[in-house]
Point group: C2
Chain length 352, copies 2
């Protein structure tokens, strides 16, 4: 019997809807396995800006920092995207949260679902059996470097900065993961142009001797953007910088056929955070049509990391069951019968 305090950050757009379903599923798990989950809801994103003028309020940070884990929906709102002059943006909250919680590694597994493999835009033989993990650096790089304007606003700049220790701690996670898997690690960078990429390469090369069993390769981001689609099975663990990881992880989601399925965790030295890789999808907000599975599978990753393996497996089992039986939202229904977000959540919970 475990007692878990989980911070619950629903966020914007479809965030609250998908989070609701994950809560139902976790509560069903808690009931079945006699755990006690104490949900701690907190504001973030555009919702927090509207309420308190800040996308990641201190109060929210306190709740997250003191929780055993954070379950996160999505943030972002279109009214900020096309307004270059907006001073406070929902995404700043996300970045501040990552930084203040020290979530330096974003872990995004990419795999296929047997029952959904034909939904992928990619041919079956290219993707069947794909099982790779992208480890994206999450608290450094161009996301956190100095940026600004010069020349009366006519010049804008952003700085991609990496320190050796930032690369080392991310790479260490990558090597450790590779050791538990196929012992293949690929460092993705742009070392033929960028100095920060050359520091990545140099640092990872220096660590190779500590992991003599791991086969390390170095590839350029442009080549990987291509090869990841051509032959995803060629990859096992990929480590990469923040911006490159942002691009590659979204790209990798097409392999599974749907962003609506892919979970992620963000880990650091303290608490870890679990979130679907999709965004706030504002067009669908409030319509009860969003696919909750990525968030539900993120909760499975949470249990997994808490060494509650059976609980994690139970969630994956019920998700696979819903896919196999076609109890899915419209994005997966192929024009056939589909169910509401909330109906899928209820179904999953009642099948646990």
């Amino acid at each position: 019997k475990m007692k878990l305090n989980i911070a619950l950050l629903a966020g914007d757009g479809i965030g609250p809807e998908v989070i609701d379903q994950a809560v139902k599923v976790c509560d069903a798990i808690a009931k079945k396995y006699h755990h006690d989950i104490n949900w701690k809801p907190a504001l973030t994103g555009a919702a927090a800006i509207d309420a308190v003028g800040e996308p990641y309020p201190d109060e929210t940070h306190e709740i997250c920092a003191n929780a055993d884990a954070v379950l996160f929906g999505a943030i972002g709102h279109p009214r900020f995207d096309n307004d270059p002059s907006a001073k406070v943006r929902p995404e700043q909250g996300l970045l501040k949260m990552r930084q203040k919680l020290g979530l330096f590694a974003n872990v995004r597994p990419t795999f296929t679902f047997p029952s959904l493999i034909d939904k992928s835009p990619l041919k079956r033989d290219r993707i069947e059996g794909t099982d790779l993990i992208i480890l994206r650096e999450l608290t450094g790089g161009i996301y956190f470097g100095e940026r600004g304007r010069k020349d009366d606003g006519n010049t804008a700049y952003d700085t991609m900065t990496y320190k050796r220790f930032e690369i080392e701690r991310l790479a260490k996670k990558g090597f450790d993961m590779a050791m538990k898997r196929s012992k293949k690690l690929c460092c993705v960078d742009k070392a033929n142009v960028l100095e920060s990429s050359r520091l990545w390469r140099e640092t990872v090369q220096g660590m190779e001797k500590d992991y003599p069993e791991v086969e390390v390769t170095y590839e350029f981001i442009d080549a990987v953007a291509m090869r990841l689609i051509q032959w995803p099975k060629g990859y096992d663990v990929i480590i990469t910088a923040n911006l490159f990881g942002d691009i590659l992880t979204d790209e990798a989601s097409v392999i599974a056929g749907s962003m609506g399925l892919m979970p992620s965790s963000s880990v650091g030295s303290k608490v870890s955070l679990y979130e679907p890789i999709h965004g706030s999808y504002p067009q669908a907000a409030g319509k009860d049509i969003a696919n909750p599975l990525a968030t539900v599978l993120s909760a499975a990753m949470l249990f997994e990391d808490m060494n509650m393996t059976e609980e994690a497996e139970e969630i994956r089992r019920v998700v696979n069951k819903s896919l196999a039986e076609g109890y899915v939202t419209e994005d997966l229904a192929d024009g056939g019968k589909s169910y509401k977000t909330s109906e899928v959540g209820d179904w999953l919970a009642s099948n646990i």
Copy 2:
């Protein structure tokens, strides 16, 4: 009857082999249409480093700057890639060449070949009829910003800088192209994080009023990395920054099923340059197995830009004929009969 001076930069790896075939094809065109092509070979890349210690020697620049066009192979050599301490790199030559020749826009069309559509890792219905152009900014951004090390080499940084005029001149080309096509322009950036992207968005938004017929959309690079694979037919003209364009153009090449087919041009205020989008592919160098079609089709773009439309069409016709008749290199042969690089070149030339 035209008299053309074309600078010929074979470069490294398979560069010389594929360039040779393009020369054969162009010479056959010149003969058929009674033109006079004066080839001006010049050194570049690792080949130039070995010869004169410089990847883009002044002499090469003189030849390019005074030519009517530049035909370029590929540069890059693996002995530099894994040596973070190398002071002179072949790629610097490429970047210096782009900058000194003022080649601020890289034009990369993405289309499918009817006879090759099943070679793509993507399903036929997703890609059939794809016809998009990525316009990549080529002389600015993080490729040319200040970079270096600090803290005894333990911190490395690169700067992504954009000036309004750089964005404007690239966007203008994008708007003009869109006007000649489906009047759809997509600006790809990361404006939810980067200040330079916000300047892109602001600048392009400011130009919309001059092109009231063009429908402009703004999308994030991570989303486009996904959607480009999911539904390439959703795009017409894409404009984007140097680094994002590097990634997206290589990624887009999987749509056609092979990098070995995709041509590109780099245009500026003075001379233009034509090159295949593939790299120097060192593993294949000297083996007479590389696919020369991307370079041959780049020569077709060259004629097109010189308003020699018939000549360009003739090259495309003969390339399509070679594909239809299976007179192809091994990468396209699907285990069937294949031909050498030089044989394909000879065949193309003799069919003109």
